[in-house]
């Protein structure tokens, strides 16, 4: 049994210290990424870095393989997010509106792609694709990404639905609007922020995903795959760091925005991979 049996005033200083240590442990590593993006030494990770320079940013800018990877990642993320938005909203609407047999099963099914370890999802999809003779391409990546992004959108949208009164839909119909008009004028404006939040989270998730992607990509490299290759066989290390800084920004900003948009829901729906 894990216990801490020292309490009271004597432990008053130990607790914040331990808490602070844990927090530092969580955040300090990322600072080093930023630091090393400016290191003038590109053959090793020597500390302290012998000099600081910004030339790696220009180098990264001019490398075509990086641009290809970024473009592919952006395209995959965009299409996967679009698919996830549609499918996730449909599922959320269905679950919210009706009480049907197997409702819990549906929730479980939606969360499975993200709950099971990535390697399982990855290898299943890969073997299914090769069994079906489907060549690995952009679309196999998108297929995989959309599958685990659905639940992220679903969680956000259904949380918003649950706080919407069903009477609003009845009122709209009562006033002469049919189902489609009601969706356009009443439902959509109400769930707009959750769609945005879910979409951004899905985008960030897809942009960053590496495990399933390595299984379902063909010859292409998304940015994470590029980075993985660099990690195993580094070329110019600071360039990798520059890219890493870029990735931090691209994934962090949408998440912060999504957090801000859903802050009144008391939960960042979909948090925790």
């Amino acid at each position: 049994m894990r216990t801490r049996s020292r309490r009271g005033r004597t432990a008053g200083g130990a607790l914040p210290l331990a808490a602070g240590a844990a927090l530092l442990f969580l955040h300090v590593p990322l600072f080093f990424i930023v630091l090393y993006a400016f290191s003038s030494e590109d053959k090793s990770f020597v500390f302290p870095p012998p000099g600081l320079t910004t030339r790696w940013f220009a180098v990264a800018w001019s490398r075509p393989d990086i641009w290809e990877a970024i473009t592919l990642s952006l395209q995959v993320a965009a299409v996967s997010t679009a698919l996830a938005l549609v499918l996730g909203t449909l599922a959320a609407a269905a679950v919210w509106r009706s009480r049907f047999f197997g409702r819990e099963a549906v929730s479980l099914l939606l969360i499975l792609p993200i709950a099971l370890p990535g390697i399982i999802t990855g290898i299943s999809l890969r073997s299914a694709f090769s069994l079906g003779g489907i060549p690995f391409s952009f679309w196999t990546i998108v297929l995989a990404h959309a599958t685990f992004c659905i639940v992220v959108v679903y969680n956000n949208v259904i949380a918003r639905f649950r706080r919407t009164s069903g009477a609003l839909i009845e009122a709209s119909m009562d006033l002469g609007a049919d189902g489609f008009q009601t969706f356009r004028h009443v439902v959509l404006p109400n769930i707009a922020t959750s769609l945005l939040a879910g979409g951004m989270l899905a985008f960030a998730l897809s942009f960053d995903e590496v495990i399933v992607t390595t299984f379902t990509a063909g010859q292409q490299s998304t940015l994470p795959i590029w980075m993985l290759t660099e990690l195993v066989r580094p070329r110019q290390r600071p360039v990798t760091n520059v890219v890493a800084v870029f990735v931090i920004l691209v994934t962090l900003v949408p998440i912060l925005l999504a957090f801000y948009l859903t802050r009144d829901t008391h939960e960042v729906a979909g948090s925790g991979k």
Partner: protein, 319 residues
């Protein structure tokens, strides 16, 4: 003219005859049809693509590879599962499980003070900031976070530098010399792998413990003090039992995530593979999908057992 005198029109204007409108009425009067239309696409997608793939994988684990031709024989047999029981494969499983357990224990020890501080000692504003601070790394790029440790643990990197500056160089050498967990550098030692796993999954342990602690009503603690218990006793008898479900819930994540990961041990750590890496190797050039599938079943089975135990301990309510 009375603005509210009822109009003689029984219904709305001609827009009511458009096909979209009529479709809406059909769906309105047939809620089951509407449900099927809403639920159909996502269920079909997930059912066919995802469940189908999982099923295919499971079926493949019952095939086996012919030793001579190297081709997958599509007949059901337990031969591949039998192969799991060889020393080499068992070694892999044990290694992975031990690592998962170590990470879980360490994560709990590290997470608990932070969670306790957040719930019981921090002001509301500080708590919100800390909460954000815990969740943010979760959503930062996975690879970038792993990469950051490669820099830190590199032989020429900051840890070595720090150790030397603090005069603890000898300690670092001693640790690296330990059998099993040590290695030429932290970046190629299982100790390093352990640190990275701990770093990656720590937020997953903090959040459920925070949730569990929040569920302990202040009145319980006051009642305990009122009945004469010293703080240490209150902790042991009142707080700890109520927090255990939260710890178990967090451990589900740390355990399962470690079991399935193949990237982290590949970047940081020794040369002996973990389950994830073995799976990757087998399905790759070796083409031994049945063995890869069977190996994948192992963490699933372990987690299934773990989850049933966790359910008994009430962890599901803490999720």
């Amino acid at each position: 003219m009375n603005p509210v005198a009822p109009s003689t029109l029984p219904v709305g204007p001609e827009a009511s005859r458009s096909p979209l409108h009529r479709l809406s009425t059909v769906l309105y009067l047939r809620p089951t049809l509407l449900l099927m239309l809403l639920l159909g696409p996502p269920l079909l997608w997930l059912g066919v693509i995802y469940l189908g793939a999982l099923a295919a994988l499971l079926v493949q684990s019952f095939f086996y590879i012919d030793d001579y031709s190297g081709v997958v024989v599509r007949r059901l047999s337990l031969a591949t599962y039998g192969e799991l029981l060889t020393a080499a494969n068992l070694d892999i499983v044990v290694r992975t499980t031990v690592m998962a357990s170590a990470v879980t224990v360490a994560a709990a020890l590290l997470a608990f003070p932070l969670a306790y501080f957040m719930v019981r000692r921090a002001s509301l504003r500080l708590k919100a900031i800390l909460y954000l601070g815990v969740v943010l790394p979760l959503w930062s790029s996975y690879l970038v976070r792993v990469y950051s440790w490669k820099l830190i643990l590199a032989k020429e990197g900051i840890v070595t530098w720090l150790a030397e500056r603090l005069g603890l160089g000898w300690l670092l050498e001693a640790v690296l010399a330990l059998p099993g967990v040590g290695g030429p550098s932290l970046s190629t030692a299982y100790l390093g792998t352990f640190l990275v796993f701990l770093y990656m999954w720590l937020p997953f342990m903090v959040l459920p413990i925070v949730a569990a602690l929040e569920r302990v009503p202040r009145s319980l603690l006051e009642a305990s003090a009122d009945l004469g218990a010293r703080p240490a006793q209150t902790f042991r008898r009142v707080i700890a039992p109520l927090v255990v479900p939260g710890v178990v819930a967090g451990s589900i994540f740390t355990f399962s995530l470690t079991l399935g990961d193949y990237i982290i041990p590949g970047i940081i750590g020794g040369s002996q593979p973990f389950i994830g890496q073995a799976v990757y190797q087998h399905q790759g050039t070796a083409g031994n999908i049945p063995l890869a599938a069977a190996l994948t079943v192992v963490p699933i089975a372990i987690m299934a057992v773990y989850l049933t135990m966790a359910r008994r301990l009430g962890a599901f309510e803490a999720l």
